[in-house]
């Protein structure tokens, strides 16, 4: 009897934690589906007459299209760029003798770059990009994100690549494969799931960034979704419906991606320190 009530208590606590974790999502989504009148009409946990008007307004009246397009372009090119730079470097690090000086130093530097808060970097970035005429351009954002995310790619990929036994690759070489074909036939297929997870984490990191995009851009020519969301708040009277809709647009793709990589989450967040 005591055992059963203890179990009930555990489940009750978990349900409370879930409600707390998920309620803000529910509140934002339902608000985005309500008419203006209903939003102000007192507390309703379900929209009485669901509408997509807020989403329509977001794109017609508040011009959200360019933000979305900028985000897609910037994220795609930055992720591709950082994977191209970071993956070979991660591969090289796993080929160095374990715990060698170069390997240790390289990983320390990468980790340091990763841990620098964005506020430390945006002021110099701003001055440097201004010097090169790259402020308020998508190219400027892509360059900054590519560089910053390269460190993340190196850490995560070397943690995945290190799991591939060296013997397999060496055996392929002994069998007469060239180095490149061993890489293509053996290493890449084994590393593919890790590469996919790294790419998805990179998408989440870059898509979610706010401070860098906020400071480096000033018009919808280059502003990304998070910055677009924040411009809706600056107005004197906040348009709650469209703002909630903007939040949903900002959150939805990321939730989908997060569900795909949730198995690797701990590794992604701790850079392989904990698995």
């Amino acid at each position: 009897m005591k055992r059963r009530s203890r179990r009930a208590l555990i489940y009750l606590t978990l349900v409370a934690a879930e409600v707390f974790a998920l309620f803000p999502f529910w509140w934002m989504i339902t608000t985005s589906l309500k008419h203006q009148v209903e939003i102000f009409g007192g507390l309703e946990f379900l929209p009485q007459a669901p509408t997509l008007d807020n989403f329509a307004a977001l794109f017609d009246k508040y011009n959200f299209g360019p933000f979305l397009a900028n985000s897609l372009l910037v994220v795609a090119l930055s992720v591709a760029g950082s994977l191209l730079l970071g993956t070979p470097a991660a591969y090289a690090l796993t080929k160095l003798p374990t715990e060698s000086w170069l390997q240790r130093q390289a990983l320390i530097v990468v980790l340091l770059v990763r841990m620098l808060p964005a506020i430390l970097l945006v002021i110099p970035f701003y001055i440097v990009l201004a010097n090169y005429g790259l402020l308020n351009t998508r190219l400027g954002l892509i360059l900054v994100y590519t560089g910053l995310n390269t460190g993340f790619v190196i850490w995560l990929m070397q943690s995945f690549l290190a799991e591939i036994p060296r013997d397999i690759e060496e055996a392929a070489l002994v069998d007469g494969d060239s180095r490149l074909s061993a890489l293509r036939r053996i290493v890449l297929p084994l590393a593919a799931p890790g590469l996919a997870a790294t790419a998805i984490f990179s998408v989440i990191n870059i898509y979610n960034d706010f401070l860098i995009a906020l400071t480096m851009t000033s018009t919808p020519d280059a502003q990304t979704i998070p910055v677009g969301v924040s411009t809706l708040i600056g107005k004197i009277q906040i348009q709650w419906g469209p703002m909630a809709a903007a939040g949903v647009v900002g959150a939805l793709p990321i939730i989908v991606f997060a569900l795909i990589v949730q198995r690797h989450f701990v590794r992604g967040l701790t850079l392989g320190a904990v698995k």
Binding site: V128, L271, A273
Partner: protein
């Protein structure tokens, strides 16, 4: 058997061949990383020694910016607010995260579903989190004020009062980042072997004793990694607070990063803002140094 000797020698040379030349692959990444860290930081340190007004560089200023910043009461207040914020958030998140992890780390129905639900808050953009909580705290359409009313607290607008706004921002942080602590600590708990714990229970140890004598010591490395990572991230908190309060009302939620941002981009005093940032950099480097010692380095060691 000449060939036998040759094949025996081969793996060794192949291994050498695998290592040789791979250093070249590090070069492009190293250049990219230096371009977004060493270069801007060096540039920033130089900028912190110069005087800027309205975006114009007015020349060398020596240590003026640093002296100026250290005598700036608003800056010192922002540092204090940040310290209070970081300590409060990390403490609450560690305790809650640990509690939840202990709860989930057992035979439960649908463990992975519980897990997914709990980790969702930290996946979405901090700006979106700010939007969610604006919708909750809003004085006209929000749900926070009515809920407080039910609890007997009337006439409070969460973001309207100084201390309530600060607590409101802390609550948001707890909501967003407890999942991180939970997830890392759960992973840590799952690596702890069960046999010694069962033995202790058989020996008659209470649940409390088992936790403090056995579980906590084994969890300590993971716990430290999680706390240091979270602390560094919390120090840099900007997005959610910018969306929620912009540092107000008054300066009650003006964290370091908000003040540095305002100084550089609203007051266009880049030199002064960089001086603040360099001071913070020193603090972060110390913490990062600790983190790096804790995070076991090198492929193969995790």
């Amino acid at each position: 058997m000449v060939t036998a000797g040759a094949t025996r020698a081969r793996p060794r040379s192949r291994r050498a061949a695998l290592i040789a030349g791979s250093h070249v692959l590090l070069v492009p990444a190293a250049i990219a990383l230096a371009a977004v860290s060493v270069y801007p930081l060096a540039y920033g340190i130089v900028a912190s020694l110069r005087q800027f007004r309205y975006g114009l560089d007015l020349g060398f200023a020596g240590a003026d910016n640093y002296l100026n910043v250290l005598q700036d009461a608003t800056f010192l207040t922002a540092l204090g607010t940040t310290a209070k914020y970081v300590v409060l958030c990390v403490l609450i998140e560690t305790l809650l995260g640990l509690g939840l992890a202990l709860l989930v780390n057992r035979q439960l129905v649908g463990t992975s579903l519980w897990r997914i639900g709990i980790i969702l808050p930290m996946t979405v953009a901090p700006v979106v989190v700010g939007v969610m909580w604006r919708l909750i705290y809003a004085s006209d359409i929000g749900i926070a004020d009515p809920v407080l009313g039910l609890l007997g607290v009337h006439g409070v607008h969460v973001l309207g009062g100084e201390s309530s706004a600060f607590l409101g921002v802390v609550l948001l942080d707890v909501w967003e980042w407890t999942p991180l602590m939970f997830l890392i600590l759960l992973a840590g708990l799952q690596t702890i072997p069960q046999e010694p714990l069962e033995a202790a229970v058989i020996d008659g140890a209470s649940a409390m004793r088992v936790f403090f004598d056995h579980v906590l010591p084994m969890l300590r490395p993971v716990l430290f990694v999680a706390i240091v990572l979270r602390t560094i991230d919390a120090i840099g908190t900007f997005d959610q607070v910018y969306v929620l309060t912009r540092g107000g009302p008054g300066v009650s939620t003006q964290l370091f990063s908000i003040y540095a941002y305002n100084t550089a981009f609203l007051f266009t005093q880049e030199g002064r803002a960089m001086a603040m940032v360099v001071l913070l950099l020193a603090a972060v480097l110390v913490l990062a140094g600790i983190a790096i010692r804790l995070v076991r380095l090198g492929p193969g060691t995790r």
